[in-house]
Amino acid sequence: MAIVDKKLTLRNRNKILVGVWEDEDNLLAAATALTAAGIHIHDIYTPYPVHGLDRIINARRSKLARIAFFCALIGLTLMTTMIWYMSVYDWPMNVGNKPLRFTPSWSPVMFEGTVLCTAFGMSFFFFWRNRLVHGIKNEILDIRQTDNRLVVAVETTSNMDEKAILTMMRKNGALELKSFHKGVQTILK
């Protein structure tokens, strides 16, 4: 599996039909109706998380928790090895005549290192997977999708009836309809 989610980019896509909603209940109903009619929704853009949309657009369950666990194991191993190398192997340090092996007093540093490695490792994968990169060109379909509008994007294929899709969007409460093709926006309603 490629790490970057290619579905997140709008580059090199066919014509995209865009419906704009204001109310999340209407959007949920519309997205459900579109999917039930066999129309594949490419993505839905919202200014806040709307629960249930990920299941409607059939987004795959994230593997982030597993990655976090893997990063934690790496962090724990690195810290344990580092402390053992420094305190036991390279320069055995006699502290109060305590034994030169793992002691509970190592655990705070092991814990902190594990948390640090997990948080940054997982976040690195999160940014990578979601194409979140400093300075990247933002691909937004509607300037208000980060403010107060909920935007549904349907990528067309040669065997799709565009008119039927637009009619269904309109019937389900879309306030505006647009299309995007090769960087050109056309207002349809």
């Binding site: 993505d43 200014p47 998380p49 709307v50 948390v115 976040s123 979140l132």
Partner: protein
């Protein structure tokens, strides 16, 4: 089926829409700074100047300009360190612990509390760093090879645990704060009109579009980070408490210190959050977002944690008597009735007695009174650290070494100066970033069950 709750009070009042939220919260960012912002920022910069002068004096002449000496080697400096670290705890608590408990009221206050955490940890770090004296070899605290000048660090020392705990806490809190900011930065990017603003917010928004796929992963990473931050926030102040508890100084060598320090940290942190937000909601017209209900909830937490801290004070007093150890018994009798009795009773009055007023609904719902109480809480918590450090050190096992200690002008200047650092950062934050998490607020406006 989703229902709108008719039983719970609304978390956002004033029948706001999503565009109202954007407009209200971005008003300070998209407009010129207000008069109150300019006055507040100027005062903060003056205090920052006091910090710069005090620090210059410290570095130029050495830490001899502080009054610390045998046997009080930790005076105002470490008192201030623990004070600021404590304040830095409420941010992560609000964001992480309350997120895990699904407490939606946190959404109005988590952003500023997280910012407060980061700025408070910066202030806290100043004190141990400059307490080292030769700050230019401060890197010896890091695990670097022996060839760099010192031996490998000692992993059995709580002081080294502190280095790891605080740097991890700072880094993870900063990451958590930044990830939470990305959707809101994207909103500003799409609203701001200036070229520089577009470039800056565009850079930091990392191309955020609000895709459903990204939101699903974003909510998951927030949850995992909250799960990581919860034990982290508990570990940090536990480790700070072991700086004291693993020593053999009477009054410090107690097992109650970790939970007692953690409760105290949350108590003082909420005190500072309340101080900031009572003012911010008025000055920035955020009364519909930071409602009386939010203040009420914060006051309840202040009262509970204040009571936990109060029980800890009484418990350690009892255990000192019950232990039969005369040094321990003397340390506590000296705290309450010795030459620093005024500090001890200030601590007891501010931390144990004063917060009990929050049993009354009027006290929890009157902003000006909450503001005064939040200051009282922070004064009390500063005295707590002063009492723990100074009263235990000024009379140790050897009566011929007994001394009295008071902070020098430079030590006082450094402490006041850290308020300059803290508020300068906070005013800049309030001008350039949204003080309230817009994307989360938009998701709870419907009062869904």
């Amino acid at each position: 089926m989703i229902h709108d709750s008719i039983l719970r009070d609304r978390l956002v009042t004033g029948d706001k829409t999503s565009s109202d939220v954007t407009r209200d919260i971005l008003r300070p960012i998209l407009n010129n700074p207000s008069k109150s912002w300019k006055i507040g920022f100027t005062i903060s910069v003056i205090f920052l100047g006091i910090f710069a002068i005090s620090l210059f004096n410290t570095l130029w002449n050495g830490i001899g300009v502080w009054n610390i000496n045998k046997s009080v080697m930790w005076g105002w400096d470490i008192t201030n360190f623990v004070f600021w670290i404590g304040i830095g705890h409420a941010g992560t608590l609000i964001s992480a612990v309350l997120l895990l408990f699904r407490q939606k009221w946190r959404m109005s206050i988590n952003r500023s509390a997280e910012a407060m955490t980061i700025f408070a940890v910066v202030c806290a770090a100043m004190f141990p760093v400059f307490h080292m004296g030769r700050v230019w070899v401060g890197y010896w605290a890091l695990p670097l090879p022996n060839a760099f000048g010192s031996l490998w660090v000692n992993f059995n020392s709580p002081l080294l645990w502190d280095v790891f705990a605080i740097s991890t806490y700072f880094s993870v809190s900063l990451l958590f704060w930044y990830i939470g900011l990305i959707p809101d930065i994207a909103t500003i990017r799409d609203k701001v009109t200036s070229k520089l603003g577009k470039a800056m917010y565009g850079f930091f928004s990392m191309g955020w579009t609000g895709s459903t796929r990204t939101w699903a992963r974003y909510e998951l990473i927030s949850l995992i980070l909250a799960g990581l931050s919860t034990p982290l926030v508990l570990s940090v102040h536990t480790i700070v408490s072991t700086d004291f508890a693993t020593s053999l100084v009477p009054g410090w060598h107690t097992t109650i210190f970790p939970p007692y320090f953690v409760a105290g940290a949350i108590f003082s942190g909420f005190g500072m959050v309340a101080s900031l937000l009572v003012v911010a909601r008025k000055v920035m017209n955020y009364e519909n977002y930071i409602t009386i209900g939010h203040l009420d909830a914060m006051c309840k937490i202040i009262m509970v944690t204040g009571s936990i801290v109060g029980i800890a004070y009484l418990t350690e007093f009892f255990i000192a008597w019950y232990s039969g150890n005369e040094y321990e018994q003397y340390a506590f009798a000296n705290r309450a009735f010795g030459p620093y009795w005024w500090a001890y009773w200030s601590m007891m009055s501010c931390n144990l007695i004063a917060p009990q007023v929050f049993w009354f609904r009027w006290a929890r719902t009157t902003p000006w009174f909450i503001f005064i109480m939040s200051i009282v809480v922070n004064v009390g918590m500063w005295f707590e650290r002063f009492v723990i450090i100074v009263t235990s050190l000024h009379r140790d096992y050897l009566p011929s070494s007994w001394v009295m200690y008071s902070g020098s002008l430079t030590e006082v200047g450094l402490f006041l100066g850290t308020f300059g650092i803290f508020f300068t950062f906070f005013f800049l934050f309030a001008k350039f970033l949204p003080v309230i998490n817009m994307s989360e607020i938009k998701s709870i406006m419907r009062n869904r069950e």
